[in-house]
Symmetry: C2
Subunit: 340 residues, 2 copies
Amino acid sequence: MSNESNAYWTVRSYPDGEISAANFELLAAPVPEPGQGEVLVKTTHLVVSPPLRMALGTGGIAGKPLPLGSLMRGSGQGRVVASKHADFKEGDLVAGPFGWQQYAVTDGKQPIPLQKVKPFGDLPVTANLHVMGSGGATAFIGLFDYGKPSAGDTVVVSAAAGNVGSIVCQLAKLAGCRVVGIAGSEEKCRWLTGSLGVDGAINYKSEKVSDALGRHCPDGVDVYFDNVGGKTLDAVLDRINFGARVVLCGATSQYEGDSQWYGPSKYFNLVYKQATMQGFYIFNFQSRFPQIFARLQALIEEGKLTYAEDQMQGVGSLPDALVKVLSGANFGTQLVNLDV
Amino acid sequence: MSNESNAYWTVRSYPDGEISAANFELLAAPVPEPGQGEVLVKTTHLVVSPPLRMALGTGGIAGKPLPLGSLMRGSGQGRVVASKHADFKEGDLVAGPFGWQQYAVTDGKQPIPLQKVKPFGDLPVTANLHVMGSGGATAFIGLFDYGKPSAGDTVVVSAAAGNVGSIVCQLAKLAGCRVVGIAGSEEKCRWLTGSLGVDGAINYKSEKVSDALGRHCPDGVDVYFDNVGGKTLDAVLDRINFGARVVLCGATSQYEGDSQWYGPSKYFNLVYKQATMQGFYIFNFQSRFPQIFARLQALIEEGKLTYAEDQMQGVGSLPDALVKVLSGANFGTQLVNLDV
């Protein structure tokens, strides 16, 4: 180990509005040695998703930013390369919040338990970072436990081509719903209607969401799976049906910028429509993950569920990957492959 | 009838911001004659509540304002003074949306069914306009069906000294909750803590609600019954506990003014706290009203539930009554007695 170095990204500065790669600093240190009861993990893949933006401060809703100079946070997969821990041995594939670095030392407990990773059937092991991981579980629990779709319902999904949104769209179609997805490019919209079988797709960058919703949802909206917040949430609230369920999952439109978050000014339609707006924390449902993953795996193997991965290469590309997902330029779950 | 006149208020102009009596015009016409299948009602009491403000236009959430020159809307009680309707006879006490006028003609169907009014036990008949009416039912359904309080929960109620809020406070205390009320005067706060047995009262006109909530709710908020919206809703959302229930009932702070409503910028705490925000339409629960009213009547007769009425006298005082309730200067349900 001793003649290799560990490249890692720290928080150099807080953005004034939109984030840029210059807000991070790439440093290097000797690869750390695991102490008694610890393991050394070589990171293979990190997931880069919009909520990471909040590590650099945002509008006062999501706690304090990381202190300047801290290791940037992030989760992913890695391989145990040295172990002084009874439960892990060299070569084990593991998942955890390793941070933006090539190597991580952990006692397997902090900050969250280190998990061994086994691929599902013939799926690539990286699927455990999205469809066969918390993203897939979030889509499943959010749609079925909170969205409670009935056949024939109109389901609207924002960030519909993303990790969670794309699974929600497909599960809702399988449940017999009419599904309308909102995404940020023509290519994504074509993927939604072409490959995922969604009934309608709205490119929010080229048309006004409220107008397009009127066209795509003539009978109103029964379930809204919200990954973006902001004025899109308002536009959907304006069209909810009696008894509608608004499932809050993400607020991508609000993570950039340090001002107060945009609150949904149409929230009072929840009263007029006797409707519900709910959030949930996916890790409270962990006991159901095995059952959910078995179902998702079966759907994938039957060709009824698909997903997309967007990989960038090398530890150096991590900041660019975050800028990319915040602009919506990624296609599918954004991964960075560090095993290069 | 023919030598009496019917005084009535029309909408003269839309307010630019806060409403004033000058936005209404008092006119008079001959008392109308009921046609075949119709009754003539002499209005005895009208309820004047903040949502009436929306009849004159507000921020684009609650539909179109009444056209200029229209009879101002409003609901209350009256006495049948002439009937050509098989189901109603002279002297019947009835309730309905008679509008701001001394006499109303109705076919008993439009715009909503005319209802016969019977006092509950020894309660004044005007109690049917609040605690033994939709206000009491709203408090009961909102708190129990949507707030789902458990003994020991902290329940926060805004407009706590109002028609609905004061009943919610007392029902929550009876359910073993810790109750904190938010109201707009020292007198109301004293009534809440003194007569209603509420654990803490916050005068939002003299202290910052967010600071006061920190003091009064050291263990967070499990149920919030919201009658006001605006920044008070944000202040409470900022302190909700895991699994909290936010019950949307009114948005008094938002009815004045024609700009966009203030959306709760802290709504995303519903995600972090796996919490629910819900609205409901009380008239969907009408089949349960008899059972609810029996329970409320028993509580009143046992001395466990009280209420306050604020009466103004004469048809001429209707606009002033609306200005009064919007400023929060009323104490209890605002009625206008037209039977003078």
